[in-house]
């Protein structure tokens, strides 16, 4: 019962419905989480699976008025994964500093930009570093195999 209540009340908002945003939204929806996904272009929602059961919202998430209107400020988790690093940085910091969202995650292509919000407790995902790490792991494994 408590578990159900927690899940029912737990709001997750994803900004950006590109490949990553849509993939995250589909996964969370399949787990029956409460998901809202926002994109400035409604055609992007075509990437969502037919079984996606969350809310769709077309709008510019860098506009504070849009965020307030959609009550995005009540989210427990915000995930900023647009294809523009600077937009993700702006949205993540706005959600942390203005709306006090508990958990904010941003995807950054350029790891050097993380320093702009290092002290803000924003979690960051770097595809470049993840990929480099994985390649390194594969190479190490191959070396081990040769021994």
């Amino acid at each position: 019962m408590k578990m159900n209540n927690i899940k029912d009340d737990y709001q997750i908002v994803i900004i950006g419905c590109g490949r990553l945003g849509a993939s995250i939204a589909n996964t969370l929806s399949n787990k029956n989480r409460n998901v809202t996904i926002v994109d400035i272009n409604k055609d992007s929602f075509g990437k969502l699976s037919p079984s996606f059961s969350g809310l769709l919202m077309e709008g510019d998430a860098t506009d504070i008025k849009v965020l307030k209107k959609a009550e995005i400020n009540k989210a427990d988790v915000l995930i900023a994964v647009t294809d523009n690093d600077n937009i993700n940085i702006l949205i993540a910091q706005m959600m942390k500093s203005i709306f006090n969202i508990k958990e904010v995650i941003a995807r950054l292509y350029d790891p050097e930009k993380e320093c702009v919000y290092k002290e803000s407790h924003i979690q960051t995902v770097f595809p470049a570093l993840l990929s480099a790490g994985e390649v390194g792991r594969i190479l190490d494994k191959e070396e081990d195999d040769e021994k």
């Binding site: 702006l90 500093s97 930009k113 702009v116 919000y117």
Partner: protein
């Protein structure tokens, strides 16, 4: 040793500002993303010009950002201006950062994020209009009392009924003035035969009573 200033983005604004700063004895570096604009800027021998995206750390590094006392972000995108200023301050140790902000609602947020000075594009121009229009024209055209004057930013979307029309063709209430049109990075004081384009932002000065009908006439909303 000259004081050094770094300007990022905003070709027209940066050009005007750079000329003013050079005349006042500053050493100026400009970063611009458009190659043709960079070639144009480079015709001024007193300017150092860097071609690239000023929100990328390696471009700021190429520009020796750390050598500057002031960095001024002038792009048309608030997210770019924010990241530029934060990188300049946190990564390159620039003491003072100034950012243009295109959306007035973000002004407080930008200050909160450590930007030292925030210049609102709309307020700047509105301030000029307030200064000139109130003194000269508003008192004559609108003898209602200053408390009833409204100044609004009205974006003209592609679907608006006024797109493509000349100002005299639009059925605006009499007591309404389009004080200024912001078009891209430039601004103009319109005349009756100025044609409105999609994407224009109008600075509208009107009495409170006519405010809503004027906006309806311009935008269809």
């Amino acid at each position: 040793m000259k004081n050094k200033v770094l300007l990022i983005g905003g070709f027209h604004k940066a050009t005007a500002l750079a000329n003013s700063l050079i005349n006042r004895g500053y050493s100026v570096t400009i970063i611009n993303e458009n190659y043709a604009d960079c070639m144009s800027l480079a015709e001024n021998n007193q300017l150092k010009v860097i071609h690239g995206d000023g929100s990328k750390p390696y471009v700021l590094d190429d520009a020796e950002a750390y050598e500057n006392e002031i960095a001024i972000a002038l792009t048309q995108h608030d997210e770019d201006n924010l990241v530029i200023c934060q990188l300049c301050k946190k990564k390159f140790g620039i003491k003072k950062t100034v950012s243009l902000v295109n959306d007035p609602k973000k002004t407080d947020f930008f200050h909160k994020m450590g930007i030292d000075s925030v210049v609102c594009a709309i307020n700047t121009i509105t301030g000029i209009i307030e200064q000139q229009a109130f003194m000269d024209e508003m008192a004559t055209v609108l003898p209602i009392g200053q408390g009833n004057i409204s100044i609004a930013e009205v974006p003209i979307l592609q679907s608006a009924p006024s797109v493509g029309k000349k100002i005299w063709e639009i059925d605006l209430p009499k007591e309404v003035i389009i004080g200024c049109i912001l078009r891209g990075e430039s601004s103009m004081v319109p005349r009756g035969d100025t044609r409105l384009l999609s994407g224009d932002i109008l600075v509208l000065i009107s009495s409170k009573e006519n405010h809503i009908s004027a906006i309806r006439e311009l935008t269809g909303r």
